[in-house]
Amino acid sequence: MTALLETKNLEVFYGDFQAVFGVDFHVNEGETVAIIGANGAGKSSFLKALSGLVKSRPDGILLDGKPVGGRPAFDMVKSGIALVPEGRRLFPSMSVADNLLMGENGKSGDRGWNYETICDLFPILRERADQLAPTLSGGQQQMVAIGRALISNPRVLLCDEISLGLSPAAVKDVYAAISEIKKRGTTIVIVEQDLNAALSAADRIYCFLEGKVSLAGRADEFDRSQILAAYFGS
Amino acid sequence: MSQPIPTAAEPVASRYTVRVATRTSRIFTVIALALVVLLVFAPAFASRPMLQDLILVFLLASLALCWNLMAGYAGLISVGQQAFVGLGGYALFALIIVGGFDPLLSIPFAALIVALLSIPVGSLVFRMQGAYFAVVTWVVAEVFRLLLAQWRELGGGTGTSLPRSATGDMFGLEFISELFGVRSAAAREIIIYWAALFTTVLVVGGCYYLLRSRVGLALRAIKDGEVAAQSVGVSTTRIKFGIYVFAAFCAGLVGAIYFLQTSRISPDAAFSLLDWTAYIIFIVVIGGLATIEGPIIGAILFVLLRNALSGFGPWYLIVLGVLGIAVMLLAPKGIWGNFSQFTGIHLFPTRRHLDIAPAKEQNK
């Protein structure tokens, strides 16, 4: 069986600086995979490459076994890879509804996600629809960011540090939503520094260390010390 | 990218030496000094048209260097330098016609007046940034053009000429006239030629000194990121303002010298966007932005082009426009920038090199 999304020997460069070194990675249809690792381990760079924000070699990224690397981000989302960017990055001059609807431009099919179903998932957004995005709380903003990516009906939803800067209660809400999204069949890749959140949500994990994969496998297959060793590189 | 060539002249006292000069640049310094001496004596052997072309090269190169200092180093993009050229010209005419001062001695005073005026003008235009700054400088130049068109004593909108009596007994005229055995018109041109040469030397020296000083380092920091520069304690606004005033002073000098030579001024000529900004930008872009050599080369090339093509009227300007846009898009470093990148030659090196002796040298 071909993986839904796969990388082969993926390398990511920012000019002369190399952030990711030859990463092999895959995620199967319906799976949730978490990428964990310390600050600067190359996790976000990896997601940026998957989403097309950073250029990579064409055969480095395969979707359904077909090379899609090197495509610009606006093509990637249309072929079904949507990113919830780190720091949420909502459009500050626009309302919640406009932010969500903006996501429709990247539509890659119909897997049941639209403005209504997203507002059913996050009822608070329906109440706040006309408010400017920056007036929302951090957790609510994260919901908008997830909804905005989800509304494109992606085959793979990439989530970059969605718990960062949120209160524990908000983290719980956000991950409850993630598991609901998973339940409805969407394939998810999360990048996460919060180990507990990552381990509870994921079927499989990859641990990144200095731009390379230091550990990979089922989420329940390792004990705490193995993961910490891969995480900090001792 | 420069060629760091370690020289025997430098004692390897410590393991690290900060070095700005290159061997090429030291050889060039000698050549440059010789060239300046040669240019000083040029009136003795050069023809009058040649001198006139050189005057134009000097004045345009001075303006281009200043514009380059602002845009290429301080991030100040002005399309309103004609304000200060025009004010320099008008200040000179006012000093001569209204004040009855000697024309030659009026030149530095005219420039000084312009520099003083640039302080309030600067505090106004500095309220805007980036592209807005550019257009506001242009509005200010228009305001001066319209205001001076109201000055009846200097001819209002149609302008005025210097009276023969004033230009006829300029300081030093008689002496030069006898020294070179020429008539007073030619002698006047020689004095103006020297003034123009002096201006260029002043501007080149000023730019070179400034860029090699701590201010130059600060400017590089500003270019790399204003916030970063401020966070390491560089007062970006003060440096930018200083450069703005310096550029205004030099533009004032240029205006005073240029309009002394033509002996005629009008608001449209004095505050011409085309002559004092469009051409200057072309010169800097063609020659090479953010280099000292570029604007000088650009000015020489511009005067050659002008002599060859100015008979073609608007077509000449169309060629300049296309050439300018093409260079900006295809070779944004200009002639000198590309040459220097290709050969590693810097005649006016302003970057510092950290030599780690005696191990192999740094290449950045």
Binding site: F91, L101 | R127, M128, A131, Y132, A278, G324, M328
Partner: protein, 285 residues
């Protein structure tokens, strides 16, 4: 009554300035670019209208309607194939390229049409006026103002009422994030420039009817447009109308005192705004 008349004339003149400014404001709002050739493009459009009327014998309003789609296409292409290549972190490149365009357009027009002063003619309606509250008001200035309001209303609708407007606003907020939404910012920029060209062509129509023009008058149009945008508040569409009106009234009052002071008065009011309200009347956020 005389004073009131001056003010009313100034307000109506402001409509024309708002038309000059609307396209410039749009471009700045979406891509933070000041198109220094904006004024010259207005003059270019006026000359093209003139040529369509004289060479093809078309009635002027028909010529305008025919020209508008071509104007959009030209603006689109200019952005797509030239100006998009200048966009980056440095504002120098787009400024200088549009500055170069200005020189090209002015001198191209000189070659094609000579330096002679021209005018567009709309026939008898130009001299007609209506009486409102005892003031005799020209029909053409009234139409200009009405069209300015309609154009700004239409732009407002596009911006805040359509999917395209959402893309325009989002691109203005972040050119990177819109890509994650499947939007190519370069395409959005090209569409914005196309719209700007449509608006500046409409402005050219009214400029040509209301005053003489020659290849050299573009820069002044750019400055009026810029001043209206800044006075109104950067990126605010209706502010642009207010800015145009303030500029128009200032010029009308200046001209009333001394005809030579018309332009100067406008510039001075603008500079006063820069000192006391540099972010304009209705700044965004």
């Amino acid at each position: 009554m005389e004073h009131l008349n001056t003010i009313v004339q100034g307000i109506l003149l402001g409509g024309l300035y708002a038309l000059y400014a609307a396209g410039l404001s749009l471009i700045f709002g979406v891509m933070r670019l000041i198109n220094l050739a904006h004024g010259d493009l207005i003059v270019l459009a006026a000359f093209v209208l003139l040529a369509m009327v004289t060479a093809l014998g078309l009635p002027l309003p028909i010529a305008l309607l025919i020209l508008l789609p071509f104007a959009f296409a030209l603006g689109w292409a200019l952005q797509r194939y030239l100006l998009n290549r200048t966009l980056g972190d440095d504002i120098l490149l787009p400024l200088l390229v549009t500055f170069g365009l200005q020189i090209l357009i002015q001198n191209g027009l000189l070659v094609a049409f000579s330096a002679d002063s021209r005018k567009l003619s709309l026939g008898a309606i130009e001299t007609q006026s209506v009486n409102i509250l005892g003031l005799s008001i020209g029909v053409v200035p009234l139409i200009t103002f009405a069209v300015a309001v309609i154009v700004l209303g239409a732009l407002s609708y596009i911006f805040y009422g359509t999917g395209l407007g959402r893309r325009l606003r989002a691109t203005s907020d972040s050119t990177e994030v819109v890509q994650l939404m499947g939007v190519n910012p370069r395409v959005v920029f090209a569409i914005a420039m196309g719209i700007s060209f449509v608006v500046l062509t409409i402005a050219a129509f009214f400029m040509g009817i209301r005053s003489n023009f020659d290849p050299s008058v573009g820069p002044a149009r750019l400055l009026y447009a810029f001043e209206a945008v800044v006075i109104g508040g950067l990126g605010s569409l209706w502010g642009t109308l207010a800015g145009g009106v303030i500029l128009g009234v200032a010029q009308a009052i200046g001209a009333r005192i001394n005809p030579e002071w018309q332009i100067l008065a406008g510039h001075l009011v603008f500079l006063v705004f820069i000192i006391f309200r540099p972010r304009g009347l209705f700044p965004k956020q």
